[in-house]
Amino acid sequence: MTENPPNPNATTERSLHRSSESGDAIRITEADDQWLLEGVQLKDQKAMATLFDRYSGMVYSVALRVLKDQGHAEDIMQEVFFQVWQNPQAFVPRRGSLAAWLLVVTRNRAVDALRRRRPSDSVDDVVLAAAENIAVESERRALMEKARLALAKLSPEQQQSIELAFFEGMSHSEIAERTGDPLGTVKTRIRSALLSVRRAFQP
């Protein structure tokens, strides 16, 4: 600890910038979302900006995919990140990776907006199990590609079920009505599709 420390924010910025010049160092800093969240708890705006830069593209893209409207999608993205700024404690590491948590919260908020209904879950209630750490850009891209491939391998019926349930926010009875399939078939199809995606990520 120095007697006259420089501006902590400036030091943080320097560390993040310099780390990007060396491969291993990227892992040291980029992997640590929790470290950035601790900065957010101290109201470090640079830490929040780093998280925003890291995940806003994913968050916005999911909201846009659901809402199909740039303005509404940005509203959802702003709301999600502002909640992180105001209440970073809502995400705790045991709830999985920050990116996965952001994506699920965003999808739920976007579907709520699409269906014009009250938020179905508080962010504090969104607990998920996701081991993938995608703080590093290259790993993020690789996982996205893997996810696209996993979805592309689903049967057309499974793809349609995921489209209607995940991206259009339809209930299982609405999907059954739309597709003409029995309710049980719809339930099984959605579950099996999600399991197939999960298996694609298992070693």
Partner: protein
């Protein structure tokens, strides 16, 4: 669906998607409140949803979205700091009933003093945390510099395009030679060899650590010279804390050997550590 029977995974997946009807959803919530196993399965289903979300094609943010967000948090941070003085309790003078008001006034001052103390304590805490953050960042900086330097050294030693030049006293024909750098306490070893003769098929050079204790030689890595006779062994997996008496290189089958095979083609006695 009862408290004793777990919720089917299919139903939990639909609950994660918010795709259940409201009555079903309420029943699931009631069960989840008291069932750890079903909460865990729901968490897994939400993990699956995150994977589906990752499949979405990336779109660029609308122009100015970043600035709008940063402006919003700056504004919020500013208003939060401006609202901080509001915790000061206003003390108003009461001209009448002075004696009766004495204790409430005193308690008001005490409360204000307590608040000031708490504020000072919080301020100190924030400064301490900021300094800790700064110190951590500085340590990280130092570590990054250290790692970068180590990488540069390793890159130099192992780069196939690096020039290896042996300086000698006169026009002596180049002879096979090697230089080993060894740190017993960390089990760290780097060997750089030059002018090695080409190997017969299915053979490899093998490096050996000869322990000072008289124990059996320890294999420390196989290596093959390049076209110009250069080769290196960098940080082989060897035990830590073995004091070395010497190092040797033999020619072995390319799968390696547990014991050195004569002849020893290169050898060197280890000086005392630090010499």
């Amino acid at each position: 669906m009862t408290d004793n029977a777990h919720i089917p995974a299919e139903t939990l997946a639909l609950h994660a998607l918010a795709a259940l009807d409201s009555a079903e959803s309420a029943a699931v919530r009631a069960h989840l409140a008291q069932c750890e196993a079903c909460r865990a399965e729901l968490a897994r289903a939400r993990g699956d949803l995150a994977l589906v979300a990752m499949s979405v094609d990336q779109r660029p943010l609308p122009e100015g979205a970043r600035e709008r967000f940063l402006g919003r948090i700056t504004e919020q941070a500013g208003s939060a700091s401006q609202s901080a003085p509001a915790v000061v309790i206003p003390i108003t003078a009461k001209p009448h009933a002075k004696r009766a008001a004495a204790w409430p006034a005193l308690s008001g001052w005490l409360a204000a003093a307590a608040l000031l103390l708490v504020s000072a304590g919080l301020g100190l805490k924030i400064r301490t945390l900021s300094r800790q953050l700064d110190a951590t960042a500085q340590q990280l900086d130092a570590q990054i510099d250290h790692n970068r330097h180590a990488h540069q050294v390793l890159d130099l030693l192992t780069a196939p395009t690096a020039q290896h030049v042996m300086l000698t006293a006169g026009k002596t024909p180049p002879a096979p030679s090697a230089r080993a750098v060894y740190l017993a306490a960390r089990g760290a070893l780097v060997l750089e060899a030059s002018n090695l003769k080409p190997l017969p098929p299915a053979k490899a050079y093998e490096l050996w650590v000869i322990p000072a204790s008289g124990a059996a030689p320890i294999p420390a890595g196989l290596f093959w010279p390049d076209a110009t006779g250069n080769a290196s062994v960098v940080m082989p997996k060897i035990p830590w804390g073995v004091a070395a008496k010497a190092f040797g290189v033999t020619i072995e089958n390319d799968a390696g050997s547990a014991t050195p095979t004569a002849p020893i083609v290169l050898a060197g006695a280890a000086p005392a550590p630090g010499d």
